[in-house]
């Protein structure tokens, strides 16, 4: 049986989604119709928690594979349903069909398929086409990369370091008398990038159970609190 970790390794390391599915089926001896989609989704969740750097292709692959498996499964169910509908019909069969099914079947004629050889011109235009496609792909990738960088700037600093730093920053505010700190105090400069850079590690700290936060009003201040047994750490 595949563990979450196996599943993650498969999806991250295999070059294409076909390979992932093939491996699940061939190497793990799993029935493709029995691949647990919930498990795949869970593995995705675990993966999300683990990633330090952003590689959007991998999460996209999880979704793609899950979608493909879902589609395959639903096709099978649909076909099964259709079978039941069809076999219900009770009209007597056409006698002519019965006879046709008994006589020797249609014999396809002898057909030759002459294959043309590739000419030098075709070879050259194939090369041109390959380079054109590559160029288009590079342009598209660059554009996408720029767009992603604009919306979600990739941090050079490791997420673990950022979590650690924020945690000690929060701790420095928390004293015997003060058991909470305003989120706005933790953000260096109040602009979008900086806010996101602080919020993300905060969410991780909450997830790990090291701090709590509350926001009493929508869009209002976020109050960060130390966990009771952790506040003095």
């Amino acid at each position: 049986m595949l563990t979450d970790n196996d599943m993650i390794t498969l999806v991250v390391n295999e070059p294409s989604w076909e390979d992932v599915i093939l491996k699940i089926v061939a190497e793990e001896g799993m029935d493709p119709w029995a691949v647990d989609l919930i498990k795949l989704a869970d593995a995705f969740n675990v993966y999300l928690q683990k990633i330090g750097e952003m590689d959007l292709r991998v999460p996209a692959r999880f979704i793609l594979i899950a979608a493909i498996l879902l589609r395959m499964k639903s096709d099978i169910f649909a076909a099964k349903k259709l079978r039941t509908v069809l076999s219900d019909s009770e009209k007597p069969p056409d006698p002519m069909l019965k006879i046709l099914a008994e006589v020797p079947p249609l014999q396809p004629p002898l057909k030759r398929i002459p294959l043309g050889s590739v000419t030098v011109d075709e070879l050259i235009s194939a090369l041109k086409k390959a380079f054109e496609v590559k160029e288009r792909r590079t342009i598209r990738k660059d554009r996408l990369r720029r767009a992603v960088a604009q919306v979600l700037p990739v941090d050079q600093e490791d997420i673990t370091d950022r979590i650690e730093k924020l945690y000690s920053q929060i701790n420095s505010y928390l004293t015997e008398l003060q058991c909470s700190v305003e989120f706005s105090k933790l953000v260096k400069t109040w602009e979008r990038r900086s806010i996101v850079r602080t919020l993300l590690p905060l969410l991780h700290l909450t997830q790990e159970g090291k701090v709590d936060y509350r926001q009493e009003q929508v869009w209002g201040e976020i109050i960060v609190e130390g966990k009771k047994n952790e506040s003095k750490a």
């Binding site: 019909s89 069969p93 006698p95 002519m96 069909l97 019965k98 046709l100 099914a101 079947p105 004629p109």
Partner: protein
């Protein structure tokens, strides 16, 4: 480059699965020497009649075409496309061709439960196609089917059965 006319004709006939008209051969040779070309074709035809050749050159209404001699046709049959179709597949194909559009359930009644599998394979091969009629699916022959059996349109598929000695059926029909 001076091209050898006989060689060009041979290449042209080899590359076409359909008959090539005499006019087209002249055009491809960029020549108007009707007699010379006709002579080459006749010579080639004579040469290929010899026992040592497995193919012959036939002049049909549509033009000239190279074919495997009748003696060897069964032997080379496995080498041609779609020859891997099993009897079961051919039967389903015949039923669809004869009575299109036909529902799967009608075929199931005469062929049995393997119909679903056969239909799937024939669809994958592009020889039949599904159209929706109400709640169920009906099957029809495709353009590829027509091309393969030498028909002009898929609707002509019924013609394939005209020459069949289905006397018993004709009485019943």
């Amino acid at each position: 480059m001076v091209q050898n006319k006989k060689a060009v004709i041979e290449a042209v006939l080899f590359m076409s699965s359909e008959p090539v008209s005499f006019e087209k051969i002249l055009k491809l040779l960029h020549t108007q020497k009707v007699e010379e070309v006709a002579g080459i074709l006749k010579n080639m035809q004579e040469e290929l009649k010899k026992e040592e050749h497995g193919i012959h050159l036939i002049e049909t209404k549509e033009g000239w075409v190279l074919k495997v001699k009748a003696d060897y046709q069964n032997l080379v049959r496995p080498l041609t496309p779609y020859q891997d179709l099993s009897r079961g597949l051919l039967k389903v194909l015949a039923l669809v061709a004869y009575k299109q559009p036909i529902t799967q359930s009608e075929i199931v009644k005469v062929i049995g439960n393997r119909t679903y599998e056969y239909v799937k394979i024939l669809q994958e091969k592009g020889l039949i196609n599904t159209i929706k009629t109400g709640r169920t699916k009906a099957l029809v022959a495709t353009k590829e089917f027509a091309e393969y059996f030498g028909l002009e349109t898929p609707e002509d598929a019924k013609k394939l059965f005209e020459s069949l000695p289905l006397t018993k059926e004709k009485q019943e029909a």
